[in-house]
């Protein structure tokens, strides 16, 4: 058995990134993701990598843009206000079809908000965030082990589809420690003939650019990109289904909210109430098919979020409003208790009989 160590979620991301071949990190400190930058600051110089604390988040994401153009694995990390600052750069990276990894360990907002956990950047992460038509691959870890595993996956998917990927975590998963094993993470380099690595006078030079003044050309680029997005939606949806086989109430939750929701499902089942949980692991692409299939069986869905009702829109779109979807949430850095979820489900059951 692989050796397990205790790590914070933030540290697990950093170690997994290093093991995935990432040797370039650019960031700017912000709670609650700072341990990630600290880990990189300690480790990168020892392994010949680059850790650079930039003068701002905007500078950091543009450094990521630069390294991504050379085909090297590169990442940045921040928390909500800092990720807002990075949006321009993320749009440029998406518009230049470059792989890169952005980590958002979310905190309460809007504005400077607070420093406690939140999931209120769901829209920003899954619907664009910056300007223009584009998507990120958005992965939502619910444990320290997944912080590591999904980081490795994010680098692989970003390379495969030539698009930026994001880990959408939250303060709780970032700060908590759990046993984690990192031994199965390995770096599988892929050919990147598009990268700007110096032609040595032997090949035509590559151009990395997001500016297309010719509208026909820009439309063509957009259409090509969305063909690729279609492939991602077909092949890369990931989710966990917990007690959904005979469920009458389908909870949908990701990240820390899913951990609490799972406790609620177990407690509800003990009382004879048939609840289940769909936990999206990829938020984009969203597990639409799983939700649609569940809508034939359940009486209603409950979206458990640390936001004012953001993922609930994707649930409604996925199930074509066939069944009611209600929200169970806390915001501002608060986390729903299992009791709150149980009460929401019981109220729902009462209203239907």
């Amino acid at each position: 058995m692989a050796e397990k160590v205790l790590m914070k979620g933030n540290e697990a991301i950093a170690e997994a990134a290093i093991r995935s071949g990432c040797r370039h990190y650019f960031g700017y400190p912000i709670t609650p993701q700072t341990e990630l930058a600290a880990y990189m600051a300690k480790m990168m110089p020892k392994i010949g990598g680059t850790f650079l604390q930039a003068e701002s988040e905007i500078a950091a994401i543009n450094m990521v843009y630069g390294v991504a153009g050379t085909g090297k694995r590169v990442m940045t990390s921040s928390s909500s206000p800092g990720v807002s600052l990075k949006q321009e750069g993320i749009s440029y990276i998406a518009g230049s079809d470059l792989p890169a990894l952005i980590i958002n360990v979310q905190r309460g907002g809007p504005g400077l908000g607070g420093i406690q956990p939140s999931q209120s950047d769901y829209f920003q992460a899954t619907k664009g965030g910056g300007h223009g038509d584009y998507h990120l691959i958005v992965l939502a870890p619910a444990s320290v082990q997944e912080m590591a595993d999904l980081t490795a996956l994010a680098f692989d998917l970003a390379d495969k589809y030539r698009m930026p990927a994001m880990i959408l975590a939250d303060g709780t998963i970032g700060q908590m420690m759990e046993p984690v094993t990192l031994e199965n993470i390995e770096y599988k380099p892929v050919e990147k003939p598009w990268a700007i690595t110096g032609t040595e006078g032997k090949r035509k030079h590559n151009i990395i650019n997001s500016l297309y003044l010719n509208p026909e050309m820009l439309e063509k680029k957009n259409l090509e990109r969305f063909e690729r997005y279609k492939t991602v939606e077909e092949n890369e949806v990931r989710f966990e289904s917990f007690m959904m086989d005979d469920a009458e109430i389908g909870l949908v939750a990701y990240g820390i909210a899913a951990r609490v929701a799972k406790n609620a499902v177990t407690a509800l089942r003990a009382e004879g109430i048939k609840a289940g949980l769909i936990r999206p692991v990829t938020l984009w692409p969203f597990p639409k098919k799983a939700v649609l299939e569940a809508s034939d069986k359940v009486k209603a869905f409950v979206s458990v979020e640390l936001s004012m009702g953001q993922m609930i829109e994707d649930i409604k779109l996925a199930e074509n409003s066939k069944k009611p979807v209600v929200l169970c949430s806390r915001v501002g850095g608060m986390i729903p208790t299992p009791e709150q979820i149980i009460e929401t489900v019981k109220n729902l059951e009462g209203g239907m009989d």
């Binding site: 160590v5 205790l6 406690q116």
Partner: protein
């Protein structure tokens, strides 16, 4: 077996360290474990707490709302969490710093003058370890198995000289009769 333990006190009392020691011990015992700290401005002098869940089955939420065991190292922590402890649970308080008694009658109470005992042994910062020693002596699920290995993992390289002192503080806590 699932045990939910809440350590609470002032920042600087070693609240997170004690939690980490239990978490490492559980890891070495091949149990499931989660360790969740409070973080942010409260670490700069205010209250700090940490939630440790130890279980033989996969752990759902790492957030503890009804602890089996509360270790309160100051009055605000006892005031805040006393009512949350499960009936039949255990409350440990540092009676040097907490001058009132526990009001609950449906829990087991352990009053340990941990800060005083730590001062007497010349290590005023190890009151947390005195408390942890007592905790381990009365909670059968948290034995001293793997304690030494866990302690080695938690004490940083530059503080290894404090290793023996940590163990001594725990012995003093374990020997104290409430």
């Amino acid at each position: 077996m699932t045990l939910e333990i809440l350590f609470a006190g002032f920042g600087g009392q070693g609240i997170l360290f004690s939690g980490k020691l239990l978490a490492y011990k559980a890891l070495l015992e091949d149990r499931q474990v989660s360790w969740l700290p409070s973080y942010g401005p409260e670490m700069r002098g205010g209250t700090a707490n940490c939630s440790v869940t130890i279980s033989d089955t996969p752990i759902g939420s790492p957030i503890i709302t009804k602890p089996d065991i509360l270790i309160a190292m100051n009055l605000p922590s006892l005031d805040k969490y006393e009512d949350a402890v499960k009936p039949g649970g255990k409350i440990f308080i540092d009676s040097t710093l907490i001058t009132r008694h526990v009001k609950r009658t449906d829990v087991e109470v352990y009053e340990i003058p941990a800060t005083m005992l730590a001062n007497e042994m010349g290590a005023p910062t190890l009151a947390n370890m005195v408390m942890t020693g007592k905790l381990m002596s009365v909670v059968p699920e948290i034995s001293r198995d793997f304690l030494e290995d866990a302690l080695h993992k938690c004490v940083s390289a530059r503080h290894q000289n404090l290793y023996d002192l940590n163990l001594k503080a725990m012995d003093i806590g374990a020997a104290y009769e409430c």
